[in-house]
Symmetry: C2
Subunit: 433 residues, 2 copies
Amino acid sequence: MPDLRDKGPGGLNLLTVAELSAQLEQKQTTSVAIVQACLDRIKSREPDIRAWAYLDPEAALAQARACDEQPRRSPLHGIPIGIKDIFDTFDMPTSYGSAIYKDFRPTMDTALVALMRRAGMVIIGKCRTTEFASPVPAGVRNPHDFNRSPGVSSSGSAAAVADFMIPLALGSQTGGSTILPAAFCGVVGYKSSLTGLDRGGVRHLRPTLDTMGLFARSVTDVITLRAELCGAVPPAPAADIRTLRIGVCRTANWDQAQPETVQALESAARDLAAAGAKIEDIEMPASFAGIHESFNAVSSVEGLRAMAIEARDHWDSLNYWIKNSLTAAKTISRTQFDKAQLHVVQCQHAMAGIFRNFDIIITPSTAGEAIADVVSISNSAFNRTWTLLHVPCVTIPTYQGPNGMPVGLQIVGPIGSDDRTLALAQRIAATLM
Amino acid sequence: MPDLRDKGPGGLNLLTVAELSAQLEQKQTTSVAIVQACLDRIKSREPDIRAWAYLDPEAALAQARACDEQPRRSPLHGIPIGIKDIFDTFDMPTSYGSAIYKDFRPTMDTALVALMRRAGMVIIGKCRTTEFASPVPAGVRNPHDFNRSPGVSSSGSAAAVADFMIPLALGSQTGGSTILPAAFCGVVGYKSSLTGLDRGGVRHLRPTLDTMGLFARSVTDVITLRAELCGAVPPAPAADIRTLRIGVCRTANWDQAQPETVQALESAARDLAAAGAKIEDIEMPASFAGIHESFNAVSSVEGLRAMAIEARDHWDSLNYWIKNSLTAAKTISRTQFDKAQLHVVQCQHAMAGIFRNFDIIITPSTAGEAIADVVSISNSAFNRTWTLLHVPCVTIPTYQGPNGMPVGLQIVGPIGSDDRTLALAQRIAATLM
């Protein structure tokens, strides 16, 4: 895999948050210098990658100057971040990837964006999303190969972090929208527990599916950002790898795993066992049968409620996938929806039972490396179940596919254990990379 | 304090969630019977208390019938709950307490409401709120004395739970809007950490202040509800009271504490010491000077962003407090806002330092018992600082004032420690009551 560092102008934009934060604290650099390095990189690479839905360089630099003039508020003070364009910002347009909302100017920040500003971060711009975060690609290209997909739907967020345009980005996941693009682009992606990161002020919310996601180039940087957004102290590093009980979960979709994904999971299991972890295979319980159907029922009914206004007033502008999903939702009865929700609750209970015997699970991040076109819908079969189960997931870019594209390893923990899951992902990344 | 149980029809509506859940599980009762008992109580008492903004008895009973026909999804399956009328519901109007939104029908549930439905709960109706959750009372009466305030702004939620109309209610807190009405009405109130309960889909959000709140008649019931809303298992009961280090915080507003509040805090400290807890006084650090001004700056600037559309298009319909706050916001510069946010961050750091030496803090819930009118703004000086600090707070109805009205004791823990704070509140309640 050629090093993307060398593909465009580089300097401060190549560093991690931990490195930037140390330099800022010691006054060895400024937020303006960091943001300028990011903007230079974007200027050079954006025509090919198309990661940005909105960018106002002067406004970003003005934010950076204000940060440089103020006392530091957090370890993230002065650090730039890109925001998926489904999240409202009071000072930039938000289009939700839709022609309906072209140039729409919300009056409020969503909660996470406001919490980032409060930590002194620079909201550098809006990263391109698919239409209403649906699976139909939006024209963003994978920085490693412009003819390949960056994954959806947080495409711009993943591509911009992978290409060293920004050190951090905010995304979301309803099916596979954080883990999949992070894995395709070769960065760290973290999807929180359903309520593990604040969803306040998010529009078009599917309340039991839409989850917030963070992108960075190291697990450590994700941990720093999450701690700031939750107002808590970062968790202690995880225990010695030799004390860990790790479950290997091939899932019911193992037949869809391509050779590079099979190899990634098997070598991770082997290397972690060699490092002293207790490794054991996990079978999903029989009660999980039909879980994709339950996902579809919940997703389409909640989607119909979330998109009611747009479906009524702007049907023709919606893409084919959204129309199909909304049409399908109308055929699902209240009883079927209730049954699907009950099934999900039962699966969540079963999953909690599995976690009584394991500290953490490793499982594929994707079916394989990034698909070789930029218009098809990617396979999110290795993500939808975890989203539906509300568990925290982290993908780390540990492997490489036959075409030199990144392949991820997914680390999954129990609901609400986001801090510990991230700490264990950090430990596993350190062991494998 | 006369027992409100005897003030109207009583039966299943008098029970706690723990009792109802056990009866439902053993098929000794039905959700329809519980909801009917609640509706009977409401019918009898609502003309005096005016706790409800929207109630459709037939629709509530239909939800209950559906619950009775379905397998149990959670310990809260079939249990009714009232929702503060600032939270969207896809099947009921939401007015935000404002004439602007009279009969407004949102298309989506806010996240917490959807999570309640998913747990099998009955969304019985919308509890009256003040206009946009501002401090100007909305005509709800205190069930213990109709000439006294129930507290604001989650007035209907607190009054309905206190009056045995419903076992649980959802509210919110930006200043003192959960703890204050809970204390005035003599029920348990829990204000989460800023991000401790999901704020997804909440409109008019002040991102660093608006916090979700729960009302119940026992701490145990709050714990059960919170666990379900977070998808986590309820926490283990707290350790023996004799192992606890409890800080007594009179706050900088101690001069505003009326005799009943002084007495409540001093007797709690004495009784907890007698039970073996290690009790020590806490002074707020000098850096907290000016914290009320910082609160006002953050609250008004965030409020201006949240209410931008209403301020532009419906200025004349807004109440005097909201107009004053929005007008004040326009005089606050970006630099002043940044400075206030920095001050808050510094106070939060200082507070985290204090919690290194204490398991928990006890402090007044209110200045005194419920004020003797239903139009004045109540004093939330004992609440605003904790809201601004983002810490979890619980009020328990432990005492009584000179007019026979309830007086609460507030229990405060560190950010993110919601489960442990509730477990300690449960332990303290068991010790004191």
